[in-house]
Amino acid sequence: MIVADRKSLKEILAMVEDDKKILIAGCKGCVTVCNTGGLKEVEILASSMKIARKKQGNDIDIDINVLERQCDTEYVAGIKDTVEDYDSVISLACGVGPQFLSEMYKDQTFYPGVNTTFFGGATEHGVWEERCAGCGTCGIHNFGGLCPIARCAKSLMNGPCGGSSNGVCEVNKDIECIWDSIVRKKMDAGKIEDLMGVKGIKNWKTARDGGPRKSIREELVQGNI
């Protein structure tokens, strides 16, 4: 899933400091699962903001709405009758949400209430870790199922750098050196020779380097029917 962290209350309050009536739009997708922008988090943000504004003697009227998904136009269209009733809208979806909203409702201002960080999963309750960098050409089977592009700080393809020490990455002692894990996994399986071949230069065109990407599934595109 896409993982995001909520922006600080201070930052969010500053975005809407001149506004009197706002909407906080959550999303039932990834940000609900990573406890950043689902119903509970939307309610907590609304209450926290109301407390802050009451303290300033400057009440704010906040409505909430948790969309099925903010990354599908059909659900974004669901707020068309009310979206202009607000001075502005804070979206707690990943960065896709406020963009889909901005594209559909050109006269409204949408603020991102979260910082979208990575594609990953929960390793324990309350802890999420990065696993994929969306490079567009997946090859994790070549690395024991562990992605060196997303999980090695330098995205190395042919083994660890000289900074790998006791399983820890030289960039930060809190980061596991994924190359240490890849090598150990192959050694334990008696298959270290799998890593001996030199990997050719990766074509980064399928990643962000090739510009914004698009996926088209011809059989689903309505215009073709």
Partner: protein, 114 residues
């Protein structure tokens, strides 16, 4: 044994402090409570294993939020005591009321309220 606690304290009963939510605490402050405290069982003695530990974390979350807003985090507290400690319950109630009196009324006031 009849013990008295200050009338300023309004008690809301829950089956376990694990039921207390961040929103309950925030909504109380939002609606003008001068302070809120959670009285849970002693740590290690939760019938549901970790309800009181979870409640403490939620209290800590709300304290951080209040600090960010510039409101004294001491307005929200977590206490642990056993259901057999009636005297301690009254003592905690008095302690909290005294502390809140020291801090003064809540700065969270609606400017649109009649």
């Amino acid at each position: 044994m009849r013990l008295s606690y200050p009338a300023d304290v309004k008690i809301i009963q829950v089956p376990c402090t694990g039921r207390v939510d961040i929103l309950h605490l925030l909504n109380a402050i939002e609606d003008g409570a001068d302070g809120v405290y959670v009285a849970g069982c002693l740590e290690g003695e939760c019938h549901y294993l970790a309800g009181n530990l979870k409640a403490r974390k939620k209290v800590e979350y709300v304290k951080r939020t209040l600090t960010e807003i510039g409101i004294e985090p001491e307005r929200v507290e977590m206490y642990n005591l056993s259901s057999a400690q009636g005297a301690r319950f009254a003592e905690i109630a008095n302690e909290m009321v005294e502390k809140i009196k020291g801090l003064g009324p809540t700065p969270v006031k609606s400017n649109t309220a009649a």
